[in-house]
Amino acid sequence: MTSSKRDYIAGFIAFFFGICILLASFGISKTKLAGVGPDYLPKVIAIYIIGLSSFYLLSLVFSKTPSKEKNQKEATAIENKTLLLTIALLIAYVALIESLGFLLVSALFLFGQMYVLAPDKNRNKKNIIFFAVLAIVVPIAVYLLFVNVFDLMLPAGILG
């Protein structure tokens, strides 16, 4: 992604976010209190965001800075596969935590996430066993500490 493309995307997302707030804020009915109603700040913020993002987009169109450096590619390549796997793991973690319970799902998540994030050279047999041990020990330690010592609640799931 070039930096000027990125700036345009940023401006458009903010612009549409503002439009969404403005549209949704028309659904807020006014109350009979003196002064401004509950719809006031949402509308102000929506107009603020729409106004600023339009100004931002216009400033990009008319900007005089040399386009050569603007279109430079980002220096580091992005590992999309690792990123998507991490996002998938995070979503799965949250989706399953209530049904499977904290201990089980945390162990699975820890192992999966450590494996996904580990550089290739660290993905040998010895390290994988180490990940597995950590994935079992850490959730148990966290669970014992927070549930038994600090009396916090954590979802117990099928093990509970």
Binding site: G37, I45, L52, T76, E79, L83, V94, F109, D151
Partner: protein
Amino acid sequence: MLITGLLAVLNIQTLLLIFLGVAIGIIFGAIPGMTATMAVALCLPITFGLEPVNGISLLIGLYIGGISGGLISAILLKIPGTPASIATTFDGHPMAARGEAGRALGIGIVYSFLGGLFSILILMFISPPLAKIALKFSSYDYFSITVFALTMIASLSQGSLLKGLLAGGIGVAFSLVGVAPLDGYPRFTFGFHELDGGFGLLPLLIGLYAIGEILKTSESRGTGFSTDEIADYHIKGFGFSLKEFELQLFNMFRSSVIGTGIGILPGIGGSTSNLISYITAKNQSKHPEKFGTGIMDGIVASEAANNASVGGALIPLLTLGIPGDTVTAMLLGGLMIQGIRPGPLLFTTNGPIVYSIFAALIVANVAMLVMEFLAMRGFVRLLSVPKHILFPIIMILCVVGAYATNNRIFDVICLIIFGLVGYGMMRLKFPLPPVVLGFILGPIAELNLRRGLQLSDGSYAPFLHKPISIVFLSVALISLIVSIRNNFKEQKVNQALGKYSKRH
């Protein structure tokens, strides 16, 4: 009087409780997702069975440790452990990344101690008159102060000013979800009752920073981040010289005053004082361009201010019985359970207890200095844990913290959503601190605007007639104009540099 207070605290049992409190507090402060509030809430039941002095000493230890502990993860991991240490990441992490992790921690610890001490002394000697002034602040004044604090966003945005201002607006927009102030009208809840209370600050902060950081790490897997690049085990003392200390004297004093002053005002507190102090230090500095590159000034400004807010927040609590934030509300509960009712009469009816509270504060502050100094080398070793092992574990702790606040999965879902939002904003080069500042300050501004307008029957005149209000509104306007002008200057310089480099 203070001697009697000290004598009440200086026994093995009470000292042990203070040290234990500080230790637990530091751990909770340092772990992203756990805060001082949670540490106090969890230990509150333990204090029921203790003597009043012991119970309060434990709570105070937790409070001081919890606020200070945030600097550890802010410096080492670039993830603020608590909202109070957001600004510590700006210069603390770059300094650590340069190989001076020990120095960054040492500076943070010492100035936490000094800022805390400053505010405790203020609390001890001039709290009644200060509390009286704070009580005079009307809704109009609060609104104007919040607006002033919001304009600070303009100076907080590194890079594009417009993007910073937009990020602030997005932060305020997030805070709109939930019931509106005064009339309780549910806004943007889309029929989900879980949204009635709005988003929590904790899932927002931890999502934006911790989860965002984990996602950012995963996009650069294998680019050598697992090697231990930022280890500095050779720390002499606290890592800075007497001469450097002298150079920071004024900065320390100003930051402590800002921290105490903001701490006194209910609702604003330590979460914003560190940012405002940092911005002030940057704006008044002779070399503002060096801020953010890992200089001592930035760490001093943030850490002196956030710990000074502790003493500041205790001023209205002890003298008026008004808690300014969730931690002090919890402390108030702890005091009431022991039969101590904070308020104007406390100093006459419970004199000895008041002085033991002061003594416990001083002892806890010293305990924090000693323990963090001793453990500093251990903290630095955290950096030698490869990120692919450290970050998944931090993720688990974030989930525990988000879930435990309200015992519901909903907050964990918010955590992940804000993580994705934070990552997206980082990719699009939106600065994150304005989002947090807008999220905290937006509701305060709205509440006081609407309350003020209700009192004045819809007239805006009092906002311009009250002296405190008009002063802050004018300062807000000036600060906005100055930062816009500075931004234009910066752009012109950059453009000139661009042309220059193109020609040569």
